[in-house]
C-alpha cells in the first residue's frame, strides 16, 4: 500500500458526494472558529503578557454588542448546518418507490441477504450499479447496524421491527460492510463486502445460484406447508374462515375495533406473529400465533408472497376491507 494516507473513503454511492461536500463545509467552519479562537488566545496572551509595567489587567467592561454578535452569528451558521444536514438526511431516509428491494436479516454475528429472485447470500451483498436499492432489514436477536462507509449510509437493524436503508451505487467494486452497533463477542467480524456489479453481471450472478426458488415461491410453499391455505384460501377469493390476502398489501384494512391500518410489511409481520393484535373487521380471532414457529427469513418469504398477490382489483375494495 504505497498510496498516501487517504482522508476520505471511496465515493461509491449517489449520497457520497453530497455528504462529503457537507463534511468539507463543516470542517471549514470548524477550522475558521478554531483559528479565530486560537489566534485570539495566542495574540492576546503575548501582546498583553505580564511584565513589570503591566502587573494588572485593565478593567474592561463587557460588551453587549459583542455578546449578541457571538450568539447571533453562531446561531445563524448552526441553523444553516441544521438545514443542510436535514436535507441530506430526509433524502437518505425516504427510499424511492421503484427501488429494487432486498431483504437483510442480521443475527449474531452474520448478515443474511435474500434477493427477490430467491438467491441468498451470507455476509455479502451483490447489487447492480446505478440502480436504487432498498434494503428492508430486521434482526433476529440484538441490535445490529448495517454500515457501508463507501456509500455513507448506515441504519440500525432492530429486533422486532423493520428498518429500511436505501442507496444507489455509482461505481462497481468491492466495499466494506460493517456492523457498527455493538452486538457481542464477534461484533468486529460481523461484516463482509458489498459487491457492486454491472447490471448484466448482476443478472448473471442472480441466475448463477443453485437454482433456488424465488422468495415468493418459497413463501407460497410455506403458505401451503403451514396450512395457511385452509383458512385464507388459495389467495384468490376470501377463504372459509379468514380474509383473503389478494390485494391486501398496501391497502387500508378495517379492524374489528373500528380502526383502519395500512397493511405494510410490519402489519403483515405482526399479523403472523401476533394474529390477535389486530383483528380484521368481520372475522373471529381464531388464527394461531406463529411466534417461535417460523424464522425471520421465512417471515420475509411469506411477506414477499403476500405482496406478490398484487394490487387490490381496480374499483373494488378487497373483501377484507370492504366487508362490514
Amino acid at each position: 500500500m504505497n498510496q498516501s494516507l487517504p482522508l476520505f473513503p471511496e465515493r461509491a454511492s449517489s449520497f457520497a458526494g453530497g455528504v462529503d461536500a457537507f463534511f468539507i463545509f463543516l470542517v471549514l467552519v470548524a477550522l475558521f472558529f478554531s483559528v479565530v479562537v486560537g489566534v485570539g488566545i495566542l495574540y492576546f496572551s503575548f501582546r498583553y503578557r505580564r511584565t513589570a509595567s503591566n502587573p494588572v489587567g485593565k478593567r474592561v467592561h463587557g460588551s453587549l454588542f459583542l455578546e449578541i454578535a457571538w450568539m447571533a452569528v453562531p446561531f445563524v451558521i448552526a441553523m444553516f448546518m441544521f438545514a443542510w444536514g436535514s436535507k441530506l438526511y430526509v433524502t437518505m431516509r425516504r427510499p424511492p418507490s421503484d427501488a429494487l428491494e432486498i431483504y437483510v436479516v442480521g443475527k449474531q454475528w452474520m448478515w443474511k441477504v435474500q434477493h427477490p429472485d430467491g438467491r441468498r447470500e451470507f455476509d455479502e451483498l451483490h447489487v447492480p450499479v446505478n440502480r436504487d436499492i432498498k434494503l428492508t432489514m430486521i434482526s433476529e436477536d440484538v441490535i445490529h447496524d448495517f454500515f457501508v462507509p463507501a456509500f455513507r449510509v448506515k441504519m440500525d437493524v432492530l429486533p422486532g421491527r423493520y428498518t429500511t436503508l436505501w442507496f444507489r451505487a455509482t461505481k462497481t467494486g468491492r466495499y466494506h460492510l460493517f456492523c457498527s452497533q455493538y452486538c457481542g463477542t464477534e461484533h468486529s467480524h460481523m461484516g463482509g463486502w458489498v459487491i457492486v456489479m454491472e447490471p448484466s453481471d448482476y443478472q448473471a450472478w442472480l441466475t448463477g445460484g443453485s437454482g433456488s426458488e424465488s422468495l415468493e415461491q418459497s413463501g407460497q410453499a410455506l403458505f401451503t406447508q403451514l396450512a395457511c391455505v385452509s383458512c385464507h384460501g388459495e389467495g384468490q377469493g376470501p377463504g372459509p374462515r379468514a380474509p383473503a390476502l389478494r390485494g391486501v398489501y398496501g391497502s387500508k384494512v378495517k379492524l374489528s375495533d373500528g380502526r383502519t391500518v395500512l397493511a405494510d410489511e410490519a402489519y403483515i409481520r405482526e399479523s403472523i406473529l401476533d394474529p390477535r393484535a389486530k383483528i380484521v373487521a368481520g372475522y373471529e380471532p381464531i388464527m394461531p400465533t406463529f411466534q417461535g414457529v417460523i424464522s425471520e427469513d421465512q417471515l420475509l418469504q411469506l411477506i414477499a408472497y403476500v405482496k406478490s398477490l398484487g394490487v387490490p382489483p381496480a374499483g373494488a375494495q378487497p373483501s377484507a376491507t370492504g366487508k362490514e
Binding site: 375495533d257 401476533d274 394474529p275 390477535r276 393484535a277 380471532p285 411466534q291
Partner: protein
C-alpha cells in the same frame, strides 16, 4: 428558652438551618419525581402501543382492593398532616397517636398489597416463564404486569422505608424531641409520606382503571 433543637455547626442561626433543611427535602423529592418519571414514561409508551393488552391486564387486578387501599393511603396522609399540625402546636401525645395511626394505616396498605401480590403469584400473572393468561396478546400483557410490579413494587419499597422513618419519628416524639418548637424532621417526614401518597394517586387510575367499562 425552650429547647429548639441543636444548631448544627455549619449554620449561622436556626432560621438558616430550617430554611436549608426544608429546601434539601424538596430537592430530594424532585429527584423522586424523576425516578418515578422514568416508569411513567415507560408506561405511557406501552399503553399507547398496546391499549388492548393493558385493558386485559388491568382487568386481572382487584379494583375493589385497589380502591380501598387508595382510601386507606389518603387517610394515612390525612393523619400525617395532622401529626405535623400537632407538632406545630406542641402536643406530644396527640403527635404520637397520629404518627402511630399513620403507621397503622400504612401497614394496612402494605398488607392488602401483600395479598394482592400473592394472588398474582397464584394466578400465574407474574411475568417470566410461569406467566400464563389465556388472552389474545398475552405477551404484551406481560409488559403490563412487569410495569405493574415495578411501579407498585417501587411504591411499596418507598412505603416500607417510610414506615421505618415513622417508627424513628415516633420514638423521638415520645421522648418529646419534636414538641419543643423544633419539628423539622416531622415536617420532612410528612413531605415524604405525602409524596408517596401522590405517586399512588396516579398509580391507581393508571393500573386499576384501564377501560374498566368494558
Amino acid at each position: 428558652m425552650e429547647r429548639t433543637g441543636a444548631l448544627l455547626g455549619q449554620f449561622r442561626d436556626l432560621d438558616q438551618q430550617r430554611e436549608t433543611v426544608a429546601l434539601g427535602m424538596w430537592v430530594f423529592l424532585l429527584t423522586e419525581i424523576m425516578f418515578f418519571g422514568g416508569m411513567f414514561l415507560t408506561y405511557t409508551i406501552y399503553r399507547m402501543k398496546f391499549p388492548h393488552a393493558f385493558a386485559e391486564g388491568s382487568r386481572e387486578l382487584d379494583v375493589v382492593k385497589g380502591g380501598w387501599n387508595t382510601a386507606v393511603l389518603i387517610a394515612s396522609s390525612f393523619t400525617m398532616a395532622l401529626a405535623v399540625r400537632a407538632a406545630q402546636m406542641r402536643k406530644r401525645k396527640l403527635l404520637c397517636i397520629l404518627l402511630a395511626s399513620t403507621m397503622i394505616l400504612g401497614g394496612v396498605f402494605l398488607g392488602v398489597k401483600y395479598f394482592e401480590y400473592a394472588q398474582k403469584f397464584e394466578h400465574h400473572l407474574v411475568p417470566g416463564p410461569n406467566f400464563h393468561l389465556n388472552v389474545p396478546d398475552a405477551a404484551q400483557v406481560q409488559i403490563f404486569f412487569s410495569l405493574y410490579f415495578a411501579m407498585t413494587g417501587m411504591h411499596a419499597l418507598h412505603m416500607i422505608i417510610g414506615e421505618g422513618m415513622l417508627l424513628a419519628l415516633l420514638i423521638y416524639s415520645w421522648k418529646g424531641k419534636y414538641t419543643g418548637g423544633y419539628f423539622a424532621p416531622i415536617e420532612n417526614g410528612g413531605l415524604y409520606w405525602h409524596f408517596v401518597d401522590i405517586v399512588w394517586i396516579f398509580l391507581f387510575p393508571l393500573l386499576y382503571l384501564v377501560d374498566l367499562h368494558r
